[in-house]
């Protein structure tokens, strides 16, 4: 195992823990994006560039965006309920 691989593994472990430790969903959406990027780096140093590409686009673009949209929708529902009161 090279130094680069050890660093990538450590980053992924730290990133995954950070995602779980973040309590605010909005921040969590950002942290999960950064975690996705570190996962892509891991795949790259383990010589799987195809998987790394997929991980970059899905993990750092698609997933956080979908979470953000969902949060916006939930906030809108809360706003509607306040209007009703």
């Amino acid at each position: 195992m090279t130094v680069l691989q050890v660093v990538a593994l450590a980053l992924v472990a730290a990133g995954g823990t950070a995602v779980v430790a973040t309590r605010d969903p909005l921040r969590q959406a950002m942290v999960v994006g950064i975690f996705g990027l570190s996962l892509a780096a891991l795949f790259l140093v383990f010589q799987a560039p195809d998987v790394a590409l997929s991980q970059i686009v899905v993990g750092t673009v698609a997933l956080p965006v979908l979470i953000l949209f969902t949060l916006a929708k939930l906030k809108a529902i809360e706003g509607d309920e306040e209007d009703d009161e």
């Binding site: 195809d50 590409l53 997929s54 965006v65 949209f69």
Partner: protein, 251 residues
């Protein structure tokens, strides 16, 4: 069940689970040891047999294209499911975009975001097309390129008023894109049968390795899958956008 009992049950279960994990981990092969020989074989066979320099693409779109067909339809079904689940419900109505309501002061998109967004659209589109069309030569391919292409459209939303413009959310076109891609890939499989050979057998001339037009049906597979992935993701993004910004409970 009281807290103490629950904790005891958890500790017993966690200890058992931990023991099983450690037992399983000790049985794993050492780091970097090669298991199975298919990987090496295909890496050596991809260039002489299929004239493609990306062995992963040779597996995905030729040797095991049948698996990719299944994966493709997983995505197709998932996008259809999202569209079905996120349809406007009976108690919901579409309301004017938030920026259009007269009593609301919404800060405009900053010039910086706009300039970077407009600059990024071209780069992202080019990168997506490059990744799709060079799938058989370099890492990447239809799946990755398709997502990048969908992201390019997302940048349009970020840089401008996608939702309020409305015309930039052509759901029919996205559906057509997705269906064309999915059907096109299935047709590639049938092409093998029509030529009197196996399903998904490479029936086109293979060309010279390393050139853009090489690998027979593999680049076509990348292209059709790219269209399908782009259409499916755009459809999912669009449904989420509509839910987040346009639909409200009928009051």
């Amino acid at each position: 069940m009281s807290l103490a009992v629950r904790r005891r049950v958890f500790l017993v279960a966690a200890a058992g689970f931990g023991a099983l994990i450690v037992w399983g981990l000790t049985g794993l092969p050492d780091f970097g040891v090669e298991i199975g020989h298919l990987g090496t074989r295909i890496a050596h066979a991809a260039v002489p047999e299929r004239h493609v320099t990306a062995a992963v693409s040779a597996i995905n779109f030729d040797y095991r294209a049948f698996d990719t067909l299944g994966e493709e339809f997983i995505l197709f079904t998932a996008a259809a499911g999202v569209a079905l689940l996120l349809r406007s419900g009976r108690g919901e109505r579409e309301r004017p975009h938030i920026d259009a309501s007269p009593d609301r002061q919404v800060p405009e998109t900053s010039d910086l975001v706009r300039v970077f967004g407009v600059g990024l659209i071209g780069f992202t589109l080019l990168l997506g097309l490059y990744v799709v069309f060079h799938g058989h030569l370099t890492p990447g391919g239809g799946f990755q390129g398709g997502v990048v292409l969908a992201a390019a459209v997302l940048v349009v939303y970020l840089a401008g008023e996608w939702v309020s413009a409305g015309r930039l959310r052509p759901v029919a076109a996205m559906e057509a894109l997705e269906a064309t891609g999915a059907a096109g890939f299935a047709a590639l499989g049938l092409a093998g049968l029509v030529a009197g050979r196996a399903f998904f057998q490479n029936v086109l001339p293979l060309g010279r390795s390393g050139q853009l037009l090489s690998g027979g049906t593999i680049p076509l597979g990348n292209l059709t899958v790219g269209l399908e992935v782009m259409g499916a993701l755009l459809l999912v993004f669009s449904e989420f956008l509509e839910q987040a910004l346009l639909l409200r409970r009928r009051s």
